[in-house]
């Protein structure tokens, strides 16, 4: 896990006069790198140019100069749309719930796994826990819907046999369950995978610390609290900051696949809103305005997270 460092710091910066000789020397390097610069320009930077659409009454088929400029009209429309606040609320709710659960549970799971003394069992559990990460959300959504269904779904069957409920609950049809279902699905799918990094950090803690604690008579729980958790503190902070940066860009895949018309008021995220109202209805300019709003908030959150991170560790993630 040792960080790899640069070995050869050489070559003073080439001056303009030396550019072409070096260029011809390095023509193969240029040939290998430049196609991808073009690629990145087309597929990452050109869509940014598409942002102009939000300020135009965009009509497909017309050239850029033939479009009619409308200024902030679509943003005004957006901020007056009730659906927008609904989508914003759902996006924030699901990302905050996802952030908390997706951040805490893998740490707990990593600590639990680390406390398993049987190595074969530990490896088996780990292998099983990665499994859902590798199936698509399409498959996961199908499985989750089946597990939660009212006819012979495992969850309802279990709750019924434990006499916790008297008749099956319609999990997928009730809006107030939706945020919880999405969060739980995400936990089910990604916990094992997200544990890898914490387990690696735990294995980097020196065994002599535990040895000393045991000599001093510390219980296992005290060892977890005073050695394991402080030992992975840095990893925890870094991952927390990174996930804050991704807070609002939760996308729409889970919500698209798990949602249905009955729970629409709780399932529509900003991205899904852009998809439904921008693409679905052909309102490209309006949808682009939603995309822009989403990006601006994302960047703001990333900078905020980076600022906090800088304060704590004197390093920058960007």
């Amino acid at each position: 896990m040792k960080a790899i460092t640069k070995k050869n710091q050489l070559e003073p910066k080439p001056t303009a006069a030396r550019f072409w000789p070096i260029f011809s020397q390095q023509k193969y390097l240029y040939m290998m790198a430049m196609p991808f610069v073009v690629w990145a320009f087309v597929f990452s930077y050109l869509p940014l140019w598409g942002w102009t659409m939000a300020f135009q009454k965009y009509k497909p088929g017309k050239s850029f100069f033939e479009q009619k400029w409308v200024g902030l009209q679509y943003f005004r429309e957006l901020f007056h749309d009730e659906q927008f606040y609904n989508a914003l609320r759902n996006t924030l709710a699901m990302s905050i719930m996802g952030l908390l659960a997706g951040f805490i549970i893998p740490i707990v799971f990593a600590v639990l796994l680390n406390e398993l003394r049987l190595q074969t069992l530990k490896r088996f559990v780990q292998t099983v826990s990665y499994l859902p990460h590798f199936v698509s959300w399409v498959v996961a959504a199908g499985i989750i819907t089946k597990m939660l269904s009212t006819d012979n779904g495992a969850v309802n069957d279990l709750l019924m046999s434990l006499h916790l409920i008297s008749e099956p609950i319609q999990f997928m049809a009730k809006g107030n369950f939706f945020w919880g279902i999405v969060t739980a699905s995400d936990v089910w799918k990604e916990t094992g995978w997200n544990t890898i990094i914490y387990l690696a950090a735990i294995s980097g803690i020196g065994p002599e610390l535990y040895e000393a604690a045991r000599v001093d008579g510390a219980s296992r729980l005290q060892q977890v609290r005073n050695i394991t958790l402080p030992g992975i503190r840095t990893t925890i902070i870094i991952l927390l900051i990174i996930s804050i940066g991704h807070l609002i860009s939760i996308g729409f895949e889970k919500q698209f696949l798990l949602g249905n018309n009955l729970v629409r008021d709780y399932s529509q995220t900003l991205d899904l809103y852009a998809l439904n109202y921008g693409l679905g209805m052909g309102r490209f300019s309006f949808g682009t305005a939603i995309n822009i709003f989403n990006s601006v908030v994302s960047v703001f959150l990333l900078l905020l997270a980076n600022g906090i991170f800088k304060k704590i560790t004197k390093e920058s993630i960007i």
Partner: protein, 300 residues
């Protein structure tokens, strides 16, 4: 190793152990059971499945569900396209990521800083769904196979993982090759590529899983082109058909018809067909992805 050293265990530690084992058991069952349940239903007679009560073993064993779905042509097209995009997408993705990583690992490369920054920024800038859709449309890539491979060709994250691996190789290898008259491309192809195999295996797994699992690009760009639909997309349509009462339906091929009549067991059989290829590669690549994941996270 730990337990042998402790001759006496306090009751707190015993309780702690109990809590750990119970929690781990619950998590393991909760993760594994849904898969086993789906597998069991897919091998169970479909009319019998409706009665419910199937857990992890089929009650009336049959291959009929699988025969039903394989007899349907949409599935074979989906399978073919899914395999094609996975193989081609992974190979092209590996070549481009490693090639870029190699140029970025060369400290003497004078455009290094520019290329590196230009690429790193792509991780943070994104025009969003609709400008991207319009771009694909303007590039005339709607309804083409290229739309599966080209837009996702390079991932800056993967490039940086491979680069940090190349940085760990001794530079003397490249220098001696140069003295023997090799050009930069030969060095990449003959020396760097074979030595970066562990990193490439990790990235290959990421790329392959991403390609195999993708469905949204099909939905967005190729949904009305029957000859280019993927397996995940077909499954998506079948699964969505029940949850949305078939009202938000797109596409008009056989899947739709099948979706409306397909009983649970057939649906589960499609789920298994879509999942199995991942399960096959998974044990072979596990040691790589754990290593790669750790490396990648440390670097980021």
């Amino acid at each position: 190793m730990l337990s042998k050293k402790l001759s006496t265990t306090s009751w707190q530690d015993r309780l702690f152990d109990l809590v750990v084992y119970v929690a781990i058991t619950i998590v393991t069952i909760a993760t594994l059971y849904p898969f086993l349940n789906v597998l069991a239903i897919s091998f169970n007679d479909s009319t019998d499945s409706i009665k419910g009560g199937i857990t992890i073993f089929p009650r009336v064993f049959t291959f009929k569900n699988y025969e039903t779905i394989f007899a349907f042509s949409g599935l074979m097209t989906g399978l073919k396209i899914s395999i094609l995009r996975t193989v081609i997408g992974t190979i092209l993705g590996l070549i481009s990521a490693s090639m870029l990583a190699f140029t970025l690992s060369r400290v003497d490369f004078q455009a290094r800083k520019f290329v590196s920054t230009f690429l790193a920024l792509t991780m943070y800038v994104s025009g969003g769904l609709i400008p991207f859709y319009i771009l694909i449309k303007n590039l005339d890539m709607m309804g083409t196979f290229a739309v599966y491979v080209l837009p996702s060709l390079v991932s800056a994250f993967n490039v940086f993982i491979i680069r940090s691996f190349i940085d760990g190789l001794p530079y003397a290898l490249q220098e001696s090759a140069k003295l023997d008259g090799a050009n930069d491309f030969t060095i990449y192809w003959r020396i760097i590529l074979p030595l970066t195999k562990p990193a490439l295996a990790t990235i290959a797994l990421f790329l392959a899983v991403g390609q195999w699992n993708a469905w949204f690009d099909t939905y967005l760009y190729n949904g009305s082109k029957d000859s280019l639909t993927t397996l995940q997309y077909e499954l998506m349509k079948v699964i969505q058909s029940t949850t949305t009462n078939a009202d938000s339906f797109r596409g008009r091929n056989m899947t739709q018809v099948m979706a409306q009549i397909s009983p649970e067991s057939v649906k589960m059989a499609i789920t298994i067909v879509v999942t199995v290829p991942i399960l096959i590669v998974y044990p072979f690549l596990q040691r790589y992805f754990v290593k790669g994941m750790t490396l990648g996270s440390v670097k980021s």
